[in-house]
């Protein structure tokens, strides 16, 4: 390797292991992430495209702003973060490892000066006796010391929780574990969606990337129902599902109740209650404002029909009993949306038992035709989110490690105490990796107690 190459590698290493880069990456990730919360993600809707200039649209598409969290530059930032993390750890770990496994066991004057806390006590008497006493004292009050003799001087060293210095590295490792879990999920799992009509079943679902996925078993929807609170707000969406394999219902997976926040899992594939709708027919009549020329009109499920005046109509929701939503009214009603050929769309209610309200609505809105509702043939379907994610446990493992690591990093401290007994003086020093203020209080008390011991026993 030439000198230049070596220099280049050196500066590359310095940069990838620098904490300045960490600060830059963390702040840049925070700032750049904002883009995707302002620009809608996914295929941009027509209204949005109409709002911005074609040049802007082209730029946004080029930069991947419509799927920015998967764009090459965002992923690159995450890779850089990982490299930075690993390089930083490799740079610092050996030193930390040495601190833990091969601690300084003697209190040299140099070390003494470097310590934030140190006290010297005058004490006369037999050094060996003093050593035994201090050792017992440390064991009692702090931790069992290691005793070393150098040229007739005694050095004692005791420590607590040295391994907590590693917790930061576990936090950093946990980030990488979470990335790995996410990758396993995207490589070996899938997310999809399926609608099942009441009384029917499916054995395939469509994934979000539009692939057809064979489940390897069948799922039947026995029933779907919606419950409401007295106020009319939705209370529960409930599907009754049965898993079928080899033509037979699977024991334990028959008539399973699936509601929002309570999914069904079979063979690693989970079904989540997500949406619902009606594929049955809705029946209307359409007539002139004077009630003449009444003709039936059938709307199929979610689809739209064209009205004689050129507008299109679809049903948003229907009920058999409007009284639970509107006081003083009764009977079936449907909420419809009408898109006139020109002008804004409009939503309103059409009733079965209140023809006068239907006429009034038609009169208030020009001289359009009058709609009357005749009821529906309900055929509900349930909309289920379907997912398999073999990486999710790796992600949770990473999260658990992260939380444990952060707690240990913040609230545990590697505390060390050294004592040197030399020529009629006892010197005690100490330091802590965290919470120095708290340690100082502890240290002062320890030193005081040691002082009293010497004035009481040795003298």
């Amino acid at each position: 390797m030439s000198n230049d190459q070596r220099k280049f590698l050196h500066s590359l290493w310095d940069m990838s292991s620098s904490l300045k880069l960490t600060m830059f990456l963390l702040i840049a990730l925070a700032v750049l992430s904002i883009i995707g919360t302002i620009i809608p993600q996914g295929p941009p809707p027509q209204e949005y495209i109409a709002q911005i200039s074609p040049n802007k649209l082209k730029l946004y598409q080029l930069m991947g702003f419509f799927d920015m969290y998967h764009s090459w530059w965002f992923i690159l930032m995450l890779y850089l973060l990982t490299v930075n993390l690993v390089a930083c750890s490799f740079k610092r770990l050996p030193h930390v490892w040495k601190t833990i496994t091969r601690p300084e066991k003697t209190l040299s004057t140099g070390l003494e000066q470097a310590l934030a806390n140190h006290v010297t006590i005058k004490a006369t008497g037999d050094q060996e006796l003093m050593k035994t006493m201090v050792a017992a004292f440390l064991k009692e009050e702090f931790a069992e010391p290691v005793v070393t003799e150098i040229n007739g001087d005694w050095h004692l060293f005791a420590q607590k929780a040295p391994w907590c210095r590693l917790s930061v590295y576990f936090v950093h490792l946990s980030i990488i574990i979470i990335f790995i879990g996410a990758m396993i999920g995207s490589l070996f799992g899938f997310k999809g969606f399926v609608n099942i009509v009441e009384g029917e079943g499916v054995s395939k679902v469509v994934s979000n990337s539009n692939k057809e996925i064979d489940l390897g078993f069948g799922v039947f929807c026995e029933q779907f129902s919606v419950a409401h609170y007295p106020s009319g707000a939705p209370k529960e969406f409930k599907s009754i599902l049965t898993v079928v394999e080899n033509g037979r219902p699977v024991p334990g997976y028959e008539h399973v109740r699936v509601i929002v926040n309570d999914p069904l899992t079979y063979k690693g594939i989970t079904f989540y209650q997500s949406s619902y709708g009606n594929t049955g027919n809705y029946f209307f009549t359409i007539s002139n404002p004077d009630g003449k020329n009444s003709v039936p009109l059938t709307v199929h499920g979610q689809s739209s029909v064209n009205l004689p005046d050129g507008s299109s109509m679809h049903v948003i929701e229907a009920t058999d009993d409007i009284s639970q939503y509107v006081q003083g009214l009764s009977g079936p009603a449907a909420q419809v949306e009408i898109h006139p050929p020109n002008g804004a769309s409009e939503q309103f209610l059409v009733y079965a038992n209140h023809p006068e309200l239907n006429i009034r609505h038609a009169q208030q809105h020009g001289k359009g035709p009058v709609l009357d509702y005749k009821g529906a043939e309900q055929r509900m379907y349930t909309g289920l989110q379907v997912a398999r994610d073999p990486g999710v446990w790796v992600v949770w493992l990473g999260c658990a490690l992260m939380v444990a690591g952060i707690f240990a990093a913040f609230f545990m401290s590697h505390r060390r105490i050294w004592v040197r007994i030399q020529n009629g003086t006892v010197t005690i020093g100490g330091n802590a990796s965290k919470n120095q203020a708290g340690f100082q209080v502890f240290f002062d008390q320890l030193a005081d107690r040691l002082k009293t011991k010497f004035s009481g026993e040795v003298r």
Binding site: L19, I27, T37, A233, P263, Y272, M402, F411
Partner: protein, 283 residues
């Protein structure tokens, strides 16, 4: 006694407490600071009682759930967590002045909730019917509250650091009452040391809930993304102290920016960005 009467008493208590702290700052009479903290504790007790009472009231209405389900309830809870974290800090470190910079946040929350928000007890929509709601909201808001306290301390830090030079001629001004900047820096770090693990837990419980309810633990929804932005900012803060050129004022600014992002995550996302991704009203 109803919960709403008690909430009004709480709001009043926090107002008095804040005024007492201001008077303490201006006059340096110790008794005023003590009165300020005692009033704050009294308000905290009243508010805790009110929250429990509202919980019970929801059961009496037949829609029982923890009072954490809409904006009104969450603002009240946020205010409660701010005073709680401040009270813990006071019990441990006894720097009374900090109250003058923290109580305004709590008062602002209570006043907004009581005057501007709909206080009706609503039944839970299906998406919120889960115990995860409790774990998720409690951890997030305790984290947010610690960041609010850190923000108040950082503002004090910047004021104090700005006057560092002329400390001698101005030694009996208000600023001389502030703890030394080294102490403020330490307290800022300690508050974030409480907030960061809680926010981390909040994000994780949110992800766990999303995974349990929808099958995706992360979908880059604006609320999720903003919580991650907040997390990045405070992670940067934590690393600032190991990075030359980033300690002191810059770190204090990071803490203030972090709290700005926190508030945007909590309120701004719903106010400004909700049109883009609807979430079935689940948050």
């Amino acid at each position: 006694m109803t919960s709403s009467l008690l909430f009004n008493i709480t709001t009043f208590g926090y107002l008095i407490s804040m005024l007492l702290f201001f008077a303490f700052l201006a006059s340096r009479v110790k008794a005023l600071g003590t009165a300020g903290i005692i009033t704050a504790y009294g308000g905290l007790v009243a508010q805790s009682t009110a929250i429990i009472l509202r919980w019970k009231e929801s059961y009496d209405l037949g829609v029982g759930h923890a009072p954490l389900s809409n904006l009104y309830e969450s603002v009240i809870f946020f205010s409660w967590t701010i005073v709680l974290i401040y009270a813990l800090l006071d019990l441990k470190y006894r720097y009374r002045v900090i109250g003058a910079f923290v109580m305004p946040f709590a008062l602002l929350g209570m006043a907004w909730a009581q005057l501007g928000l709909d206080s009706g007890i609503e039944p839970l929509v299906p998406a919120l019917q889960s115990n995860w709601l409790l774990y998720h909201v409690v951890t997030c808001f305790l984290g947010y509250a610690a960041f609010a306290v850190a923000c108040g301390i950082s503002i004090m830090y910047l004021i104090k650091a700005g006057h560092e030079g002329d400390q001698n001629k101005n030694s009996n001004g208000i600023i001389a009452m502030f703890p030394p900047i080294r102490v403020l820096d330490d307290l800022n770090y300690r508050a974030i040391m409480v907030g960061f693990p809680l926010l981390t837990l909040g994000i994780i419980t949110g992800a766990a809930w999303a995974n349990y309810a929808w099958g995706t633990y992360w979908s880059w929804d604006p609320k999720e993304t903003w919580s991650l932005i907040v997390w990045f900012v405070y992670a940067a803060f934590l690393h600032a102290r190991f990075t030359r050129g980033w300690v002191g004022k810059k770190a204090a600014w990071l803490s203030i920016i972090g709290f700005g992002a926190t508030i945007f995550c909590y309120l701004g996302v719903n106010l400004f960005l909700s049109g883009l991704h609807s979430y079935g009203g689940s948050r």
